[in-house]
């Protein structure tokens, strides 16, 4: 079992003892997800990178006293969520505007026909225009794959509130994306 990769909890313990390599391993594991989540929440790469860096700084600070009470990723997402919320408070509460949308932020995985890029942009805009709470639960549910319970722990909202927000969010998105319903992504 020597080749088994270290668990997140083990890495946090190592980090608590000052082993910076453990931070590197955690970064390899989660940086992409952290950056994607904060970008989707903030709509801005620079601020998303700030949140990402701040998240790892917080991890390092907390490592010495870290006691796993919940799933590591839930705890991590909670940090990212709260830091992103702080960022939005600092810079105003406007939803992600069209101006904030950056063309290079949309990755087109296959050959990039115009329709595909247009659809990706339309989806980003539609999500960005949702009311704040609906936007957050959609991002955590659809893009981060979190369960209702996990979303509840990350946001601090009740599970029933999360489910209600999800239903309304998907319904709103259905309406907003109506022109693309026949488009197969």
């Amino acid at each position: 079992m020597a080749n088994e990769p270290p668990s997140d909890i083990e890495l946090m313990a190592r980090l608590g003892r000052g082993d910076l390599a453990a931070l590197g391993t955690l970064a390899e594991r989660y940086q992409s997800r952290i950056l994607s989540l904060s970008y989707r929440l903030l709509g801005d790469w620079h601020r998303a990178e700030d949140v990402s860096q701040e998240t790892f700084l917080r991890l390092r600070q907390a490592a010495g006293s870290y006691e796993p009470q919940a799933k590591f990723t839930t705890w991590l997402y909670r940090i990212v969520h709260n830091l992103s919320l702080d960022q939005r408070r600092k810079t105003g509460k406007d939803p992600v505007s069209l101006e904030a949308v950056q063309a290079d932020a949309v990755e087109v995985t296959q050959a990039s026909p115009l329709e595909r890029r247009e659809l990706a942009q339309a989806v980003q805009n539609a999500v960005g225009e949702l009311p704040e709470r609906q936007r957050r639960v959609i991002i955590l549910h659809r893009y981060e794959g979190l369960s209702h319970e996990e979303i509840s722990k990350v946001t601090g909202w009740s599970k029933s509130a999360v489910e209600s927000l999800l239903v309304r969010a998907y319904e709103n998105l259905r309406k907003k994306l109506q022109p693309y319903q026949d488009f197969s992504p």
Binding site: L20, A21, L23, G24, A27, E28, Q31, S32, I34, L35, S36, Y39, R40, S52, Q53, F56, L57, R60, Q61, D104, A105, V106, E107, V108, T109, R116, L119, A120, V123, Q124, V127, I138, H141, R142, Y143, G145, S147, E163, L166, V167, Y170, E171, L173, R174, L177, Y180, Q181, F183, S184, P185
Partner: protein, 148 residues
């Protein structure tokens, strides 16, 4: 079976329903045009949302991160307190002053004249003329000396 709830259709699209429940929901969908229509909408929306992908992150520079943490001031950051904090502190001070003032007034109130009653802390000493102590003390003041 009742109609399937929207949240369950969402979970079905996300493939996160428990196997047993998924089987029951799919069986219901076979026979319920209303739920089928809803399911088509939700699945379509779910698939469309998948078009928004973001680029993967660059690797974290751990050395830079460590440097950033060293540069971060460890001292407590002083922040100007909010108006609510100031109001609470002011109210606390005002209440303390009022209590102190009222307590002071109460402690120096004169004894009822003509009763001859001694304060309890004096009577427990067993003196017969404890009530006259204060006048003796007062007589020992500068005015008394001048008179003498």
């Amino acid at each position: 079976m009742d109609h399937v709830k929207d949240i369950e259709l969402i979970e079905l699209a996300a493939r996160r329903l428990e196997a047993e429940r998924e089987k029951a929901v799919r069986a219901h969908l076979q026979d319920c045009p209303a739920c089928q229509a809803k399911w088509r909408d939700i699945r379509s929306t779910w698939d469309l949302l998948g078009a928004w992908q973001v680029r993967p992150a660059a690797a974290l520079d751990v050395a830079r991160l460590a440097a950033a943490q060293r540069e971060r001031p460890s001292a407590t950051v002083l922040r100007f307190p909010g108006i609510r904090v100031i109001a609470r502190v002011a109210a606390l001070i005002a209440v303390s002053v009022l209590i102190g003032y009222a307590g002071g007034r109460w402690s120096i109130r004169p004894l009822p004249s003509g009763t001859g009653a001694e304060p309890s802390y004096v009577s427990v000493l067993g003196f017969e003329s404890g009530g006259s102590f204060s006048s003796l003390v007062l007589q020992d003041g500068p005015a008394a000396r001048e008179e003498g």
